[in-house]
Subunit: 376 residues, 4 copies
């Protein structure tokens, strides 16, 4: 397996599986002098922790994190920050259930592709490394990035914008309202009335044994202009990479996104104007980046989250050992939707990406020595 490291200057490496002993996240590139404690990480982990509501998986994981390196007397030292989360809810009866069904492909899951890739030694328990549990390590790393970005005045929030066809109206909500409101309900939707509808709908679908997906929106404010590298490493490309690497994400768009394909150029172009000595834009169809480089406006991205693959309805499938068609029984331990829990992961990946680009840019910029920054 490759691909367990992300980023060039702020570099995150993770490991751990659903039913392994522990998950870990190592953050390289953390500056010294950052006040940091386990509770800072815990706050973010708690946003994606399972077992907290009727629509989440009933798995009970405390997700207690321990920072074990990179610290001295409560401050980061510049050395890589290592964090470990021991799994606790890995009872033998659950392992047994997975073992009994280990040859069956669960539709929508990765058993088949992992078996192709890793053969019979693949970790068959609870999806192993392919499990959403892996994202706890991402969230831990993102929590470190969050604190560094805070020093730069950069804030990121992710929330459920749409669940099936139920759409939230967030247009009049400030960043802080979006952040605070989304914490007030189990679906992470800042439009509180719509949130209730979403939850009610999700419960109904859950009772049918089924699951539901939706659209999560990510908003980053305070990002200075200049982040993103031309050509292959545009900020848009980096964000898309980061967000599409999250399980269940099937699409990603920036700014107007797919809606831009229904506009003419004269509608889509964001018109610049002067405001408080800076160049700003009257609209934000670009989602805060031109030519893949941040332009000082809010960064807006949205991801398509597919309905959870684990359903409580029997499905036809194939047994990978006998190579015969077979039946997969209904599974009860599951999330009715992961739209809410994925918000913490999407925010984490966005923070990691923005910080990585910020550091790359700063290195380039410090050598360039450009002084005049158009008012910034």
């Amino acid at each position: 397996m490759l691909g367990n490291t992300f980023g060039r200057m702020f570099r995150v490496t993770t490991c751990g599986e659903s039913y392994g002993k522990a998950l870990a996240a190592l953050c390289d590139g953390v500056p010294p002098g950052l006040e940091l404690c386990d509770a800072d990480i815990q706050e973010e982990l708690d946003k994606r922790r399972p077992g907290q509501s009727a629509i989440d998986s009933p798995r009970q994981e405390t997700d207690q994190v321990q920072i074990f390196s990179g610290m001295r007397d409560g401050y980061t030292t510049g050395a890589p920050v290592g964090m470990i989360i021991y799994n606790v809810d890995t009872l033998p009866q659950h392992v047994k259930e997975y073992e009994d069904a280990k040859d069956l492909i669960r539709p929508g899951h990765a058993e088949y592709t992992y078996r192709i890739k890793y053969g019979d030694y693949v970790d068959w328990c609870g999806a192993g490394r392919a499990s959403g549990r892996e994202t706890a390590a991402r969230v831990a790393a993102g929590a470190v990035a969050k604190k560094i970005l805070a020093r730069e005045g950069i804030k990121v929030v992710a929330y459920v914008k749409k669940l099936m066809d139920i759409e939230a109206d967030v247009s009049r909500l400030s960043f802080d309202e979006r952040e605070q409101n989304s914490l007030k309900n189990e679906i992470f939707c800042p439009d509180l009335e719509t949130a209730e509808q979403m939850i009610e709908y999700t419960k109904r679908v859950k009772d049918e044994g089924d699951t539901v997906g939706g659209v999560v929106e990510i908003l980053a404010v305070g990002v200075p202009p200049g982040l993103g590298e031309p050509v292959f490493d545009k900020l848009s490309a980096g964000l898309a990479h980061a967000l599409m690497s999250i399980q269940a994400v099937k699409g990603c768009e920036i700014g107007a996104g797919f809606a831009a394909t229904m506009m003419k150029g004269s509608e889509c172009n964001d018109i610049p104007y002067m405001k408080d000595g800076k160049i700003r834009f009257r609209t934000n169809n670009s989602g805060g980046m031109d030519g893949g480089i941040s332009n000082g406006e809010d960064i807006i991205a949205r991801i398509a989250v597919k309905p959870t693959s684990t359903i409580s309805i029997a499905q036809p499938t194939v047994n990978m050992t006998t190579m015969q068609e077979a039946d997969l029984a209904a599974i009860t331990r599951r999330d009715a939707t992961i739209c809410g829990r994925i918000c913490a992961v999407a925010a984490a990946m966005t923070r990691i990406t923005i910080l990585d680009h910020l550091m790359m840019w700063r290195g380039y910029d410090a050598v360039s020595g450009i002084e005049h920054k158009l008012g910034w």
Copy 2:
């Protein structure tokens, strides 16, 4: 500037600007013994070459490519393949036009973000490195990847699926029909009747001085299961990175994509079954990948292409030197849509990404020594 290299095992590096002397692409990781000639590259370059139809930019670039390294007697040697394309249509009057307007932000373009990043020494001519002209080098590199993939039985095509709200029906067309038909018209749409409507509509919009966007679909066939690395380097993430790095692309989706958010789990899950000794899937909402790893089905991606930013209508803007609001005159030398021309670029980036992942997987797999591959 960073970010001019893409890929880990098949690694492409490019340089060159819209009005510089030349563009170049260097491909590292090319295997030896591949029959290759300038004409192979030219064939792909001709698909994105400007000045070929009424809806394209009238700029006349011959895009003549010369392979200058990595070859001996018509075959690749394993050394990096270097390719150079000299710019020809860089007449002083065009340079003069750009120089006169160099302080003005062209809405939707990258002048502002480049000026922030590179200061007064930025290349103001024809968008410099931010120009779509840069993509000629990507297409050249993709042509090399195309030939290597052909030996593996992997083929990729990209075509216009939707222009504004005009949608093509490609459901009954084979891969070859999609490829051949899309070459028959200037909009690269394989549904020939719809193509005519698209072209007609584009001309009408062009006459208004405006531009139009759309959706390009990418189809890859013959990709074996196993490509894509768990967690951060999923094939989906790699493709999203590659495709979102193309100018004007504002969104990307795999398989059902955003439509998956309107399905329940029981609808969205692709059901596996046995066919000819292999495991296949009855539907392909996953777009050919589970857990971010290819599953043997067709790989399907779509990108949202915004309407060309350059319009032939005057627009308000800001002068970056005076920091005053100003007017930008209508610009006539432009593409009415880039949906057609971008197809060659999208196919190129997809090929590069798939080949890179193929090589990563092969290296891992050869060390793993897994023999049983579920019929593959």
Copy 3:
């Protein structure tokens, strides 16, 4: 801090400090199906563990490692292998000693450069991340590589070749003898008589309060021809990078190394001949690589290990807070030489490098499809 990840296909990331809670090593790229247990790692760790002899540091670290990810039922799954080693000998009195002297540069150590780089928040305790303790994580990762390489018939040993001017004669010793003999004494020298002289000399120097360096030789057997990438990523360059990244290493040479500068071309050139259907070389001045690519002969490298910087003799220095010259008292808790303990680290880094190159080559080769391998 950057730079805590090494390798492209077999990728090792580490964290942890001398007096932090724990050290960790994450190995990405581990194939599935490898039988692996804590004891496999422990065996290598024990070779560099301190406190085992009169010439080592008296620090008592048990170096108990726990593999916490990437495993199922005793076999690797292909997921990244995470390993953690909790520090135990971090008693308050030792921390206090370091705190009292934290502003003083210990000559030969990295306090000054770390203070420049990380400011006042740097980890001042026991050299923090700069400590040789960091190498325990490298050894853990190298132990994983060792097991993978064993499946390929590749073996690596490192031993003390020379201590000050006392030189071992290993010419008549087989690989196995070099490995077994070097474990028989506390200086890791396979020439047992010379080992005794080395140890005696080291004790004498230790009694003077001083320290001693030497030359460690690394021998890799069973490496097939073909490893190493032309130009920037030659196997020689990769090995030099890996070995020179170890603390206290001031030089590195391959094959005849610096002695080659005293030969004429006609002496230095290794003459090829046929043996058992394969091309072999009569001498091995090249150290097993031509053009930076392995040629099937033994790979031989040597590193220059400087005398341990920590000495039990008072030294003049500078106080970094007062920016005044000052005196550093004699330090008693120290290694009289690290030549012996560094062998395990050098072998680990060599294994990691060879495995990484092996995987890169296999990926390239599998796509190349070259069949005729000159008898290999």
Copy 4:
């Protein structure tokens, strides 16, 4: 082939072979606003150009370079700088000579390992990509780095320190004297008297049909403290990687290097003291870096250059097609030593490495926000 890109923030990619059409170097990470012209590159290229003296290869290459991207009106724009050098002395008779002998391993060269790796399609002409001709592209890239470093007050020179057992005394020569003197003779030795002995000796060896190697020393002045990343990416490791990637280099050492193994700790430790408000060191056994991070003193490295493998004496060898032993005739078109010409390459690689580390550090440092730098 992989490995044709070097560096993380200042990133150089090259291609081209000995008898291909052209060599190219692409530099990514070049800041905007740098005055640069072909002549700047040419100046460095001329230092390694063949055919300039009695002891060099008689091959006549003008090495005329053309910068074809990344420029506007004589200044860099921040876009990658592309440079191309067309080969000229590739006459059919030389190609024919190589073709006739293409199955024979030339001892000391890379034919065998390339054939293993690239099969029958390998470029057999003039060593192809393995040729020292490849280094022209490195020198071109290094010339760009040189100009950027000059703005930072960093200067690098490389010169021949020792040829066989003839050693230059450079101890009383300033940086400028070393640079200027080394240009005054064909062996690039700043000790002018010794240079004459070296040249005379080389000519004598050449008359015997043989070749000679030596030690090249690299000196970098003006490097601020702080460059180099702890653990795997120490500046020492980066330099070793860069220098050992050059053809014919069999060893590398920093500061006292292998001589440090003959010192006791009390001799080897560099003692810090205060000078002009900064911390400096009384000796420089460390070669300007502690813990792998630059300490503000001169950076000193040395490389072992083996005698040129091409000799004008017949040698036994093997024919790779017949797999029979064979004879290789004397070869006349060759360098009697490459010690002189390699200096430009070693300086180039050192500059690229230092600049890359400078940019990495600046990016990290700008995010860290450490203000107090101990007087720097």
